[in-house]
């Protein structure tokens, strides 16, 4: 099956792309997709503990199973608003 992976902000910079298509076996979890990304772009590893994940534009858990055609988004810690955000 095929899923669309979305990457945002610094994750996008590290991977050099904000959107990619991945082939994955049925029953794969978001976490397994993430692990594949880390193999390809080791710089992503530092986000292992701090990313959020969404499936089809709804927040999900890393152990969520994804289906053919799903959009899986990985997101670094958020920084909306205007006043200082501590790194």
């Amino acid at each position: 099956m095929r899923v669309t992976v979305r990457l945002f902000a610094r994750l996008r910079d590290l991977a050099g792309t904000g959107e990619l298509i991945r082939e994955a076996p049925p029953g794969v979890t978001a976490h397994e997709i993430w692990n594949d990304l880390v193999l390809e772009w080791p710089g992503l590893r530092e986000y292992e503990k701090t990313i959020s994940v969404a499936v089809n534009a709804e927040y999900a858990r890393m152990n969520a199973r994804v289906s053919d055609g799903d959009e899986i988004a990985f997101m670094p810690p958020v920084s909306g608003g205007a006043d200082p955000t501590r790194k």
Binding site: A9, T50, A54, V78, G80, A82
Partner: protein, 158 residues
């Protein structure tokens, strides 16, 4: 066209339009919050900011926040718009408006909303400063995190 209660937009934000969309004749108190791009941060001279959003999820997260505030302060109605794209110094990246018959509720709901925006809305800012740029990162977004929600509620000092 009626102003929506929540929005993620590249257009300049309009606090008056937000006030109009939460205001009603029964209300005695309207509180607004605007977050403006600062000209300095951590000792750096900021040139401008660039905001990026996962838009469909950001809109849902804003709606969630508006709903949470409405549950906690039933007398209050909240609206929140976040801007994305390039923002110059002094421009508003977020505007929140809150109306209630009771000023305490209007303040609390508005404060709660901005705290929650910073916790769970998938928007990121890249700071362009003299000499470079850097993505700023705050909280790991987890809308189900009860401790984060409780913290926002405490800060709102209801």
């Amino acid at each position: 066209m009626a102003t929506p209660l929540v929005a993620v937009t590249s257009e300049p934000l309009d606090a008056d339009a937000l006030v109009a969309c939460v205001g009603a004749q029964g209300d005695g108190a309207v509180v607004t919050f605007a977050g403006l791009v600062r000209d300095h941060n951590q000792g750096r001279q900021v040139r401008f900011l660039e905001y990026e959003a996962y838009e469909p999820l950001a809109v849902r997260a804003l709606q969630r926040i508006v709903d949470e505030a409405g549950e906690m302060w039933p007398s209050a109605r909240v609206a929140a718009h976040h801007r994305i794209g390039r923002l110059e110094i002094g421009e508003a990246s977020i505007v929140i408006a809150s109306a209630s018959a009771h000023r305490g509720d209007a303040f609390a709901a508005c404060r709660y909303a901005i705290e929650r925006v910073k916790q769970i809305v998938p928007i990121w800012k890249r700071e362009h400063f003299d000499g470079g740029d850097v993505w700023l990162e705050g909280a790991t977004a987890d809308p189900e995190d009860r401790a984060a929600r409780d913290k926002a509620y405490r800060i709102a000092c209801a």
